[in-house]
């Protein structure tokens, strides 16, 4: 490439960058951060919303419910995404708007004959009082217990249901994302883990060799989350503080309307509005 050509390209690049910066400043930007469970839904909603409302840009970043709540409080984000209920002192400063419900379900490998576990059985597995699948009608094999890493809301929801502190859990594997749990179960068929029902149902439907385990006598399905019979559930909330911008307010109204229910269902969550 000649020097002149290089300079011309550089000039084009600079003008392009300047142009895109200019465009950024004219429109309203709404920033949402938080739960990695909610983020993909909002991203999909945002694409459609941006197309229908030119000049508005929605930025979605995942990083966990606690981050969403902290960012909404500090003003780093316009809206926070939290896949859990607010604690008392959080609720004093923030308002939560439920946009959907999600269930946390136990998953095992498709080849594992165990298809139902009670709360008491789950407690004995997660505290290593029972360590062999044959105690639960499965094969004679050591149970590999997969737990979530600290701070994940699925961990909080699951442990809250079992009534355990994380220090009580004796895990063999600690993982972060929902898909990492599912991949761990696929890689080692003796693994037991728990993930968001939305993720598990979509993976199982897509042919991933996992099985959603019934808990408390109720099948782990989105219908049972919707009708409130499934015991391990959590709300998917958008949280706002008192200083929400008009653009963010408008987007929030859209999120709490039935207009996004098709997207929520596409992600295997349960609409509530």
């Amino acid at each position: 490439m000649s020097k002149l050509q290089f300079l011309r390209n550089l000039a084009a690049l600079v003008s392009l960058t300047v142009a895109s910066c200019g465009k950024k400043e004219t429109g309203a930007v709404v920033v949402l951060t938080g739960s990695s469970t909610i983020a993909p839904v909002i991203s999909d909603v945002a694409k459609r919303y941006e197309a229908a409302n030119p000049g508005v840009r929605i930025e979605v970043q995942s990083g966990g419910s606690s981050r969403g709540i902290a960012d909404a409080l500090s003003g780093t984000a316009d809206l926070g995404m939290a896949s859990r209920a607010l604690s008392a002192d959080e609720a004093a400063k923030l308002t939560a708007h439920r946009i959907a419900a999600d269930g946390v379900c136990v998953v095992v490998h498709r080849d594992n004959p165990v298809s139902e576990l009670s709360r008491e059985q789950l407690i004995s597995i997660y505290t290593k009082k029972a360590t062999n699948w044959k105690d639960f009608g499965g094969p004679d094999a050591t149970i590999v217990v997969a737990n979530k890493a600290e701070g994940r809301s699925t961990l909080e929801v699951f442990l809250h249901y079992l009534g355990l502190d994380n220090a009580d859990v004796k895990a063999d594997v600690v993982v972060g994302e929902n898909l990492h749990v599912i991949n761990s179960v696929v890689a080692n068929p003796n693994t037991i883990g728990y993930v968001s029902i939305g993720t598990a149902a979509s993976e199982a439907k897509g042919g991933t060799p996992i099985k959603l385990v019934s808990t408390g006598g109720v099948a782990a399905t989105t219908e049972n989350v919707a009708n409130g019979t499934f015991p391990i559930t959590r709300p998917l909330n958008i949280v706002e503080d008192a200083l929400t911008s008009p653009a963010a307010k408008a987007f929030l109204d859209h999120l709490t309307s039935p207009a996004i229910n098709d997207i929520i269902q596409k992600h295997f969550f349960v609409p509530v509005n």
């Binding site: 966990g64 606690s66 600290e150 502190d165 063999d172 600690v174 890689a187 080692n188």
Partner: protein
């Protein structure tokens, strides 16, 4: 040009400064004591929060050194083969493949490890979780293999032709020449490559988090799951608040110090070694 170079160097200082400011609350609160004496890491426990980093520091070093121990023989054999045995076409293509291996994203290595290496280890040791110290070392070993091979090859190539001719003149065979002349002469360059690989391996995150099992414990066997420092930071940083976050920054700071020591060692060796055989 000089300014740009200073920006690059200054960046490191900025990052260390950032780590220090964020780690400061924990250092100030005197939390570092428990950091090194406590055996447990359970920051999220309501009943009994503990912040012991020793098991994770051990894990970082074990995974790293084991990875180098696995990759060094293979990488060195590969470099010797390339330099002295392989036909030029084979050498060129195999070297290109290795260069390609450097570009494979860590997350792909990790996923491959989880889906291929982990099931193999379960078959090897039934009843274990599979995600383990050994799994992490194997995956990391593959990731640093090209670094070790390419730097070793450069070191072998830097051995003066006169020494090879002298060995031939003495009637030494090829194997004997490699073993008694080339390898001792290229030792410095190979060592530098190993240290570079160590520095690369100890900071690796995405691959180890997928295959190590992430249980904060001191392993009793190769098949026990472990949690290196980088995994802990990756798993918990986005979700941590207040003192927990400051302690994660402390852990990051310790890791940067370890890498700094390695880099210091590399430059010390480089200044020290014979320029003719320094290699990379």
């Amino acid at each position: 040009m000089g300014l740009l170079a200073l920006v690059a160097g200054g960046m490191v200082l900025l990052i260390i400064g950032y780590l220090l400011t964020n780690a400061w609350p924990a250092i100030q609160a005197g939390r570092l004591g428990g950091f090194f004496t406590d055996t447990k890491w359970q920051p999220g426990s309501q009943r009994d929060p503990r912040f012991g980093v020793v098991s994770m520091l051990t894990a970082s070093f074990l995974v790293t050194f084991l990875a180098v121990a696995l990759a060094l023989p293979v990488g060195l054999a590969c470099a010797i083969f390339h330099r002295f045995y392989a036909p030029p076409v084979l050498e060129r293509w195999n070297r290109r493949m290795l260069e390609l291996l450097i570009g494979v994203p860590a997350v792909v290595f990790g996923f491959w490890g989880l889906m291929v290496v982990v099931p193999l280890l379960i078959r090897l040791a039934p009843g274990t979780p599979g995600q383990s110290l050994l799994a992490g070392s194997i995956v990391l070993g593959f990731m640093i293999l090209p670094i070790i091979t390419l730097t070793s090859q450069a070191a072998l190539q830097a051995v003066p032709a006169a020494q090879l001719q002298a060995a031939a003149g003495l009637g030494m065979g090829r194997a004997r020449t490699i073993w008694c002349v080339v390898l001792p002469a290229a030792k410095g360059g190979i060592g530098t490559g190993v240290l570079l690989a160590l520095a690369r391996a100890i900071g690796e995150t995405m691959a180890v988090v997928l295959v190590c099992g992430n249980i904060p414990q001191i392993p009793k066997s190769l098949f026990d799951p472990v949690r290196p420092i980088t995994s802990t930071i990756a798993l918990e940083m986005g979700y941590a608040t207040a003192s927990h976050k400051a302690l994660l920054f402390c852990a990051g700071l310790i890791l940067v110090l370890c890498t700094a020591l390695l880099v210091g060692w590399i430059s010390f060796r480089r200044a020290d070694s014979d320029p003719g055989t320094g290699g990379a």
